[in-house]
Symmetry: C2
Subunit: 348 residues, 2 copies
Amino acid sequence: MNNLVISIDAMGGDNSPRVVIEGLAIAAKKNPDTRFLLFGDDAKIAPILNQFPDLKKVCEVRHTNEMVHNEDKPSQVIRNRNTSMYMAIDAVRKGEAQAIVSAGNTGALMAISKLVLKTITKIHRPAIVSIMPHRNGKYVMLDLGANTECSAINLAEFALMGDILAKHALGVERPKVALLNIGAEEMKGKEEIRQAAHMIKNSKMNLDFHGYIEPHEIPNGVADVIVADGFTGNIALKSIEGTAKLVVRMLKDAIKGSFWAKLGIPFMLGVMLKVKKTMDPRLYNGAMFVGLNGLSVKSHGGTDALGFSVAVSNAANLVRQNFVATIREEVEKVDLDELSQEAIYEVY
Amino acid sequence: MNNLVISIDAMGGDNSPRVVIEGLAIAAKKNPDTRFLLFGDDAKIAPILNQFPDLKKVCEVRHTNEMVHNEDKPSQVIRNRNTSMYMAIDAVRKGEAQAIVSAGNTGALMAISKLVLKTITKIHRPAIVSIMPHRNGKYVMLDLGANTECSAINLAEFALMGDILAKHALGVERPKVALLNIGAEEMKGKEEIRQAAHMIKNSKMNLDFHGYIEPHEIPNGVADVIVADGFTGNIALKSIEGTAKLVVRMLKDAIKGSFWAKLGIPFMLGVMLKVKKTMDPRLYNGAMFVGLNGLSVKSHGGTDALGFSVAVSNAANLVRQNFVATIREEVEKVDLDELSQEAIYEVY
């Protein structure tokens, strides 16, 4: 019963196609209902795929010599339909696959995905979403970089899509949704954020809306969905990643420099690995482009096989739950354009 | 030779005036050249001050019954000249003190400071700056929340003020200056950031300008001055603070839950405390409002005596180095208004 098909850009990422195929081998075991459509250089793919006979049974390879490179500009890549990335995305448009996963160039993946899959009717802008760890669980945050500047409507739509993603990917029945903002007394944040808050409250979206959230409150798990424009979301995401690494690094350096601390390693190793695992970026790999007619997932370019498999499993999971169709249905129920004029009135 | 005078809002913060006075006692020992002008309720101040006879010798208390409360709006507080905060700031305008420190309401402190001290001629907007820890040292970041939206000129001026602060407060001879931006391939960040980069490169500011920096690169210490608009800076600051706390918290929780790990505490305690101390928010207390005719420093409202003393010592240190006068002189040398038109041309 392998009726679920994921399209794979086998040439994307730092160590492709090896890491991609090794990742698929892990993902195939976890997703026995899934087949894979691989696009890329067969001369490079075949010898590696032959090492994984079980995986090979559920793979179909479509050969192409061309691929998107890291330094390629989005404006260039959208004109070449013969790259492994373009062909993999196009397979979703043709209905041959229900989702595409690539570890290649983010800008290229976004540009081709938008061009080929098109934005869902009534959704104004697609967004990039990731699943992230907080103190006692996970949350989704969007937009992480697809849109530098966003209107209130964009933010309200992100809230809706984030809500659906949290239900589907995190299994939260009624996700708590919040808008990322700053709370300094001297200012109430940006106008578009205030307008978005008004729209979310007054629309038919029926979200469990918790108003504004400041970045330092995120780790406490007060919200399941954090909504921001792409610039702000990207700044928050990278600040979080950088700081987590810094603290772990400082601790490592300090332990290395201390004879006493080294004696404690046998006792502490277990909990250190546990915390490291909770924060392991591989387990949160796979930024999803949502709002398109088809699911496009970006794996980190430098991830390993485990990380790639997580991105693939996430994609398969969302396909199984009809994620894209749910977004389509839910946006039909709300009319944000009508609310937007009213929102501007109310805020001023 | 107590010719340096710092004005103190004795009533600001969660546990005032006790924490304020205890903090001053620590600061007085570290700054033997400094006197303090305290504004607040003498009935509350006197009994505590009497417990610190050495401190009392270098303090002058000016009584007022009124104070700014945490819930007060900036628009209200600027109309009452009899609050301890207003009077403390006004002492700087009158030349009775060279800097003011308050642990009170941030918005109020910013509003009154701007109204009373006024922005330095040729500086368009003041900014909030903090000193922060990176992997092997410290850096300054601004703006942290004074201005939600900023023009290229604002950002260029922040770069200049940050450069001077890094020289004075961190002792870096030639600070490396960078603009906070996102580096996703699909977008080159915001227009005003690109314009600011052009202006910094082409002005007479003569900064050691390193272009853009992404938030996850900050902890590596690649720049001494990080420049952002107030919204972005505040988001980054609070993401960093929240994540540092999260990682430490996760580690603590994990250790508490493990018998083995607890046995390792005696070995590891030293390095854990060392890392904790490096990240100790009290040692980085004191956000400075720069760009005004006088230095206004905001201590965290919930800090303790040590934290408050750090804010006071930072203020005294900057006064000693003629920080405000240096900014005044340096902005005289550059003409950003002239460059701004050109920048818009160049970027497009």
